[in-house]
């Protein structure tokens, strides 16, 4: 099996994780796909830096999160305005959509925390490791993210139950 084929099998096994993190940070299927492609390219370039003595998943999760956040940051000037208009104009159809919209409106670092906590089921220390910030910062971000979500969803409490 050649190097490329070996790399393909790595991509096959991590694509779901990468795509889901990308989707939770972009909230758009097309953007999530583009960001995932960028993650795979970064993985290809950074593969020599990976230490096989360390577990692969936390390393890959960190690479993915940072790569998607950088990707978002780079294309912010062109994409932010229409996205914001769409968010404020669109009337959410159901409670899930309301929740998605509330998460989408969170600051980027809060979104990353929420994604890693609720999608990946990571603990605060693992999130801190992934985002390379202190544990206390992650706790604060998660607390604030929950506060914002609760305040935004308060008017719809009955539909959420």
């Amino acid at each position: 099996m050649g190097d490329r084929e070996a790399f393909r099998s790595v991509l096959e096994s991590v694509q779901k994780l990468a795509y889901n993190i990308a989707f939770r940070l972009t909230w758009n299927a097309s953007d999530a796909e583009d960001a995932t492609q960028e993650v795979f390219l970064r993985l290809f370039r950074n593969f020599p830096q990976y230490d096989p003595a360390q577990p692969f998943l936390p390393w890959f999760r960190r690479l993915t999160t940072n790569c998607v956040l950088n990707w978002k940051e780079k294309r912010r000037p062109t994409s932010e305005l229409p996205e914001q208009i769409a968010v404020h104009d669109a009337a959410p159809a159901d409670s899930s959509e309301r929740l998605h919209q509330a998460i989408r409106e969170l600051p980027q670092e809060y979104q990353a925390c929420v994604t890693l906590k609720y999608l990946e089921d990571l603990g605060v220390s693992e999130i801190a490791q992934t985002l390379q910030v202190p544990v206390g910062t992650v706790k604060t971000w998660l607390f604030r993210a929950r506060e914002i979500l609760v305040s935004k969803l308060k008017p719809y409490v009955e539909t959420l139950l």
């Binding site: 790399f7 694509q15 995932t36 390219l41 290809f44 999608l119 609760v150 409490v157």
Partner: protein, 114 residues
Amino acid sequence: MMTSCDETREHLESCDDCRLHIVVEARMRTLPVLEPPKGLVDRAMKALPRAVPLKREFFRLAAAAVMLIGLSVAALNAGLDQSAPVVTVKTRTAHALETTSAMFNAWRSETWKQ
């Protein structure tokens, strides 16, 4: 005597804020996991840069060097074949010397006349 569980339940029944916190927390845990689009890996593999084998790179460089030498030789030959008369350094120097000495002689004869 009320257990802490009962107290909590009672509090939750009356406190909207706490209830909402729990509901939001629970809903976040049930966010669906999405399937990546079909062909995502294939497209990624196509977009990856291909590593050029060392052997092929060597031959490419060798071919470029041979072409460069060939072009230099051709340019040199083309320069020698030109039919226009070539003014050598020696001819130029001799001409310049003649001019200079004629000028000097003219000046000397003018000066000595006075």
